[in-house]
């Protein structure tokens, strides 16, 4: 039986009550508001600061100006440009090393650890229940001149007592080490997830067909795990571009990253405008990196959406 509006009415229960159902637009609204208020608006504000349309100094007139941009991009702001290049080098180095080290870890968890893998995963993540700041300070204690590493070397008579390894802390090494430590679980996780979801019949079939373990890995396992590898790489690359805590605590004056310049402009100096130029530069870099790597990240969720259509 059909009602006037075309809905089938169930016999014996009278006409069906119709409820106003929110459209797709209404469902999107909360996350859209979230993104606009917490992401787009702040970035827009930073953009306004970068072109002189806002100021952090009360009573100072504002006027549109690209001088700070010109200064940074083409002028004598070379100190900040060279700091940017140096930061990108460190970031890339850390991302590559971390991803390379995370892969065997994820592989071990997925293929070797078997039933213990989730327990081991928990162990891997356990330090992250404490604050990042405390973990970096802990590294200070480990790497300091009178720290754990040097003391151990002295105790074992591997170095003359009192003679510390100078590059252990306040160096590129210490920054890279702390960033490596910080991000390796986050890189291992997506690789682990991809390896877990791998069709294990494929390596078995390869073995049945006479492929060596190395050939099976390089021709089947590794190519299929690439989305996880790329996701892990991006997980390190993007946050590390703006890093400033590790250089602040375990880096020396020559090892400060671009993020430190931005932080200093906002926390110590009155020039939020110049700091905003640096911040906008970093935002652009992150957006470009996301767009570039996003192309390689085809997730199950996206596939599912496509299947619906």
């Amino acid at each position: 039986m059909m009602t006037a509006d075309g809905h089938a009415a169930r016999s014996g229960r009278g006409p069906r009550r119709t409820w106003a159902r929110p459209g797709k637009g209404a469902l999107v609204l909360p996350p859209l508001l979230f993104v606009v208020v917490l992401l787009v608006l702040p970035v827009a504000l930073v953009g306004l600061y970068s072109v002189g349309l806002r100021t952090n100094i009360p009573g100072t007139p504002t006027a549109f100006s690209l001088l700070d941009w010109k200064d940074f991009l083409t002028g004598g702001g070379s100190a900040f440009r060279s700091r940017f290049v140096y930061s990108m080098e460190i970031t890339l180095f850390v991302s590559v090393i971390t991803t390379a080290a995370a892969y065997p870890l994820a592989y071990y968890l997925s293929f070797v650890a078997r039933r213990r893998r989730y327990a081991l995963l928990l162990v891997l993540l356990a330090p992250f229940f404490t604050s990042y700041l405390l973990r970096v300070i802990a590294w200070q204690i480990i790497l300091n001149e009178n720290g754990v590493v040097n003391s151990l070397l002295w105790t074992l008579h591997l170095r003359p007592h009192g003679e510390a390894i100078s590059w252990l802390i306040y160096s590129n090494f210490s920054i890279a080490l702390v960033l490596f430590y910080t991000w390796i679980p986050f890189v291992a996780l997506p690789i682990f997830v991809v390896l877990e979801n791998l069709d294990h019949r494929l390596p078995e079939a390869a073995a049945d067909l006479g492929a060596s373990r190395a050939a099976t890995f390089w021709r089947i396992t590794f190519p299929l795990s690439l989305p996880g590898v790329i996701a892990g790489f991006v997980f390190v690359l993007i946050p590390t571009t703006g890093e400033f805590i590790a250089p602040l605590l375990v880096g020396g004056p020559n090892n400060q990253l671009f993020g430190n310049s931005i932080q200093a402009f906002f926390s110590n100096s009155p020039d939020w405008n110049y700091g905003s130029v640096l911040a906008m530069t970093l935002i652009v870099v992150v957006v470009v990196l996301t767009l570039v790597f996003g192309r390689f990240l085809r997730t199950d969720l996206r596939a599912g959406t496509g299947a619906e259509q």
Binding site: G59, T60, A63, L67, G77, N144, N254, N268, S269, Y274
Partner: protein, 390 residues
Amino acid sequence: MATEHHQSGRRIDRRQFLSASAAILGGAVVLDACGSSGTPSSGGATSHPPLSKEPGNLSILEWGGYEAAGTKAQTNGLEAGKTYTAKFGANSITYTYITNDDQALQKATAAGPFDIMHPCHENLPDYVSRGLVQPWDTSLLSSFHQLNPYLVSKGQVNGKQYLIPWDWGYGSLSYRTDKVAASDATGWELAWNPKYSGRISLWSGASTAFEVAALKLGYPHMDQLTSSQVQTAKASLTTQKPLNKFYWESEYSQMQPAIKSGTIWIAYSWQDTQVAMKKAGIPVAFMNPSQGRLSWLCGFMLGAHTKNYHHAHDYVESFINHDASAQMTNLYYYGTANDTVKPSEIQDKTLVAALKLGDPRAIAGPDVHLQSWSPNRAALELAWQEVQAS
């Protein structure tokens, strides 16, 4: 920087405009202050709700180590503030920390509002011109009349008492006497000595770094540097940068432990470092440079829109009274603004004599340089950022 290229001809860029505006505004405030009488006026022109109607939740911009006694944050043994926390409790006080004066002004502007701020006096004109502070009602501070008139006058702008002086002292290089040759420790150039590369740590802050460089370069007016002097000082600081192990931010958790452990041998510091190291049995001297030490004066400012007007006065009174001031001096060996604290009450007579702790006018003596307001601070800030990024 490229700004130099932009500065050709008659064009004036935004930074120059900011600097010029700041100079004019600040200069006007300073001139007003100079033209004012020495007698502070009571700031209580507007009516304020009585203490019982105030929320009592003080928000304070403060240096580490100066928290009121009784609060969990006070771990150094300072007894100042004890009478306040005994009366009102310690849990309603919130501290926001500063690590240098440039940052203090920045936080006061952007991170407030605060009920009380405890920066040093050199940026006082900026706090006033930015509308961040209001005058104290000195009649509500029963110990105010005990404060040294010279220091009190330093806290006045336009005849109004915007800063209640509390502590004063010196800035110089502290050095490990067992590691650094006494013949090398004669002037500020010690921080530039490549012999001690990797064993030096200057304070992370634009103003002081440029003052140190100015003294080393022989510029007598260290806070009135010309553009070319700023560039020369910048180049000098850039040369000095690789010699630092790090630029220190925190005195107690970073600089002093590093001196103690021998990680650094030479650091910019105040006189309390010498006292702390002496207590720890570490041989440290507080250099008396041939170019003279820096000196400073700090005190309390009252937030322009505080809802805790009377609480704030009670809090400051609990710091400036005789007992609190004497204990502060015996703990840190900083000078006190309270004239009733006599040198005889200070335990280490050698230090009293060496630091002239009984004479607040010593901060303006012929052999020291009082850190003062700089008209081109914006330029210094940018130059300092460039030094750090170079």
